[in-house]
């Protein structure tokens, strides 16, 4: 496992980097409006009524943004949790922990692709 991870490291790192930068940039506005402002009633929820939400998300750019919002934080998260595990004396189990985390991120990313394709 460790060996496979070593081979994949460049891709993982790219995805992590994208999550760290692009992911953070996209997620901030999303969380402020969708996660906080609308549920707290600060913004009229009709802004994200189904027709408009669907229209926004199913445009070409929209699909891309949605996929980015799903996959990028997952990879940033998976990679960071892995290094956290190493920091807590997890050097030895790194192969297994990393493998599981990336597998989870990969599965969720594929589901994200399906979700976006369904729009």
């Amino acid at each position: 496992m460790k060996h496979l991870l070593l081979k994949l490291e460049p891709i993982i790192w790219l995805l992590f980097g994208a999550g760290l930068s692009v992911g953070t940039m996209l997620l901030t506005g999303f969380v402020i409006v969708v996660g906080l402002a609308i549920p707290m009633g600060l913004v009229d929820p009709s802004a994200l009524a189904y027709p408009r939400a669907h229209a926004l998300a199913s445009s070409g750019l929209g699909r891309l943004v949605v996929l980015g919002l799903i996959a990028l934080p997952l990879w940033k998260g998976a990679h960071h949790i892995r290094s956290l595990s190493v920091d807590f004396h997890g050097g030895d189990r790194d192969g297994a922990v990393g493998g599981l985390l990336y597998l989870a991120a990969a599965i969720c990313s594929v589901m994200g692709i399906i979700a976006v394709a369904q729009l």
């Binding site: 760290l20 799903i70 996959a71 956290l84 979700a115 976006v116 369904q118």
Partner: protein
Amino acid sequence: MAGAAHPEAMAPPKKGPTRTAPPRMPESWWGAQRIRTYLLFGATGIVYFVAGTVVLKLAWALGTGPEAWDRALGNLSHPLYLIFHALTLVSLIFVGLRAFGTMMPKMQPRNGPLPVLAAGTVKGLFLSVWVALTVLLGLVLAGKIFP
């Protein structure tokens, strides 16, 4: 010193010629503010991971149909979600400041085709793009532009 480091940390490949005491970790590892900040930075990974799945769930609902979407959106008013998103926002700001403020300026390739900019310039650039994107996406999502 707190706790033992990995017994092989920086150890020579073969056994040394004299008996050594195993390496130890610096006390500052958890005790010092700097390291705590770094570990918290790593811990935001958990928040990000969950946030990704939340968006996945919303996207799935949006693809399923209007009722599913309304239900999913309605769920977000649950206090647990609200707390989580507040936490996410804090994490995002923390990560953004650290990533764009200190990490990106250091990562600039020095011998690439691009000119090497002053750390402050890079920091400024990234921070402003971040704010701009956030405002733009926020306005779109809030229905203020692109009605």
